[in-house]
């Protein structure tokens, strides 16, 4: 997963030369329009809404992190607020960056009539939120016992 990604139609398997690597790996913020064909507009809109849903998830995590830092009462453990807030904002930042890369990859896969590439984003989100939640719980209990 990343903004750097392979384009399978250009890939030359086993070719170690740098030129072909430069050709098939590129920095892509927006999908190529010179490959494949325009997909059904409903699929493009669905991809766009999926991107927007991920961006909203990312923004909600960032908002939660900012709110935790600014609004939480003192938890007695000194680093509790920056730890909870920082964790949420880090998770939101990762998802926000990955959302754009995933939208581009999906759009290109649809143009080439290939299956949508598998994504680790749901797993990253679930594990990240679980990690921050358990961490917050531990900090709460730690604060009470001090």
């Amino acid at each position: 997963m990343g903004i750097w990604h392979d384009l399978q139609d250009d890939a030359i398997p086993g070719d170690p030369s740098g030129h072909s690597t430069m050709k098939r790996r590129r920095f892509a913020l927006r999908p190529r329009r010179d490959i494949g064909a325009d997909p059904d507009y409903r699929f493009s809109l669905a991809n766009e809404r999926t991107f927007l849903a991920w961006i909203r998830t990312s923004l909600a995590l960032v908002a939660g992190g900012l709110a935790a830092t600014q609004l939480l009462p003192d938890l007695r453990v000194g680093f509790a607020r920056p730890a909870i807030g920082g964790g949420l904002v880090v998770l939101g930042t990762v998802l926000g960056g990955a959302a754009l890369a995933r939208w581009t990859a999906n759009e290109e896969a649809m143009r080439l009539n290939q299956p949508i590439p598998a994504s680790r984003l749901p797993a990253i989100l679930a594990i990240g939120v679980g990690f921050v939640s358990v961490g917050a719980l531990i900090l709460l209990l730690l604060g009470d016992s001090l």
């Binding site: 913020l29 909203r56 990312s58 900012l66 920056p82 930042t93 959302a99 754009l100």
Partner: protein
């Protein structure tokens, strides 16, 4: 012509909806929700940066608020226009708007991280 275009009776040609599965409406609403989320993050960033609205710390918050307001205006406009037009089979992909939204969200998140760690 989509199936939903035939839902209106013969006497109601005034308002024709050619939007299979309400794609345009759902996408327009998704843009609106995203713009509102960006506004919330902008407001929280500005709040975290403190009262005198002049320093460099306020730049990410202002960026989020400005882009959020812009998206509220631009993000759904084309879909609302297309929704009432007869030919909805046009490519509606908006790579520019998607890239601007994604990049802004990512940059604002990075700055929010700095804000959280330095406060």
């Amino acid at each position: 012509m989509s199936a939903s275009g035939n839902l209106d009776g013969p006497g109601q040609q005034r308002r024709r909806i050619s939007d299979d599965g309400l794609q345009h409406e759902r996408t327009a609403l998704a843009w609106d929700r995203t713009a509102l989320a960006l506004l919330v993050v902008g407001a929280l960033s500005l709040r975290g940066a403190g009262p005198p609205l002049s320093s460099l710390r306020h730049v990410p918050g202002l960026l989020a608020v400005v882009v959020g307001a812009l998206l509220l205006w631009l993000g759904s406009r084309r879909y609302r226009q297309r929704e009432t037009s007869v030919d909805s089979d046009h490519p509606l992909v908006r790579p520019g708007l998607v890239v601007v939204t994604g990049t802004t969200a990512f940059l604002v998140s990075l700055c929010a991280l700095l804000l959280v760690l330095t406060s």
